[in-house]
Symmetry: D2
Subunit: 111 residues, 4 copies
């Protein structure tokens, strides 16, 4: 891993106010696996369009990719609450972390 990455880890650990390298480390491999499957779904969509697949079938695949993105987002949010918000609550004032999380939820619900 490069120095740059190590610095980002440091920033992230700092943001969470604890020593561990990252909030989603435990599930990092699983998370990357899910994102790779979504990448495969998007490439599948390109193939479908390239092969003039019936549009309703393309739309079904888009809905599936959207659901998979949702699942990743909700998992990340759960992780964020369990680490960043909880750590901030224990360290003192979690107001900023809570606001940040609920803004992310609002963006997700509306996107």
């Amino acid at each position: 891993m490069s120095d740059e990455v190590t610095q980002e880890q440091g920033a992230h650990a700092h943001a969470r106010g604890e020593a561990g390298p990252h909030g989603y480390s435990g599930d990092k491999a699983a998370l990357l696996g899910r994102l790779r499957r979504i990448e495969g779904q998007i490439r599948g969509l390109q193939r479908m369009v390239d092969e003039d697949t019936y549009c309703i079938d393309v739309l079904t695949q888009i809905s599936a990719a959207k659901s998979a993105l949702h699942a990743v987002a909700v998992g990340l949010l759960e992780d964020h609450l369990a680490h960043c918000v909880v750590d901030a609550a224990r360290a003192g004032d979690p107001t900023a972390k809570v606001k940040e999380a609920s803004d992310a939820i609002a963006r997700l619900v509306r996107s």
Copy 2:
């Protein structure tokens, strides 16, 4: 292009009840371009996770990818209405095409 692809084109043209090879042919290059950008966003997400980017920033990028998928889906739906539903209306009974389109909308809204 393989025989299999040619057959799929035929099926699609048939489904739309007209001679043209595919409903989204005019915008096919643009559509593929958008899907490739979304693929890039998903790969960017993997990089962010791999580099332990702060989870809120990952969530913002997920919302952006979701919005881009939405735009593709709405564009496909508009195309589907303008071609498949309109052709079916002119050819006779569009009931099945309309039901199919509204089922796709329902899936999209809930996904």
Copy 3:
């Protein structure tokens, strides 16, 4: 029914380019019944807040009301496609109706 209502019916019939009084007339009673149930859900939410119901339970009820609104919207869209878009396709150029429908879908998906 008042003159004003009759005028609105006329405008709607005109918009759809046919003689019938309204596109969702067949399901009008059912549609009103669903909206009244949603109104009951919203009043139930007020009661829950007034009685300091646990916030997660309030959120569950909000999700239920949102789903019910979705079902109404998708039903209206199906009706719109089956009447307004189909009539426009048969009468000549449905481009404006198709654009209007897909704009409504885009608003719905993002709201």
Copy 4:
């Protein structure tokens, strides 16, 4: 207020592990005001359907009601994080509260 309501307040206060009567007490009047406006929107929808308003205009109003419900939900979630999750974090193990919140987020995103 009835005994039943008082008991619910107690249960809610207990769930949050503190003495205050309810998590959204500060914003309760504002929250009720927003829900009453949404109730008005739903009644407006019934009037629109009853008067055969053009379906696209009904759909626009549905999208507005959905957005208003979203805003209420996100506000409740922020409140829940700021009170229930933060209190649980300080009192000991917030795992159950965090899971409960992320389940509510998942339901909201999908509804």
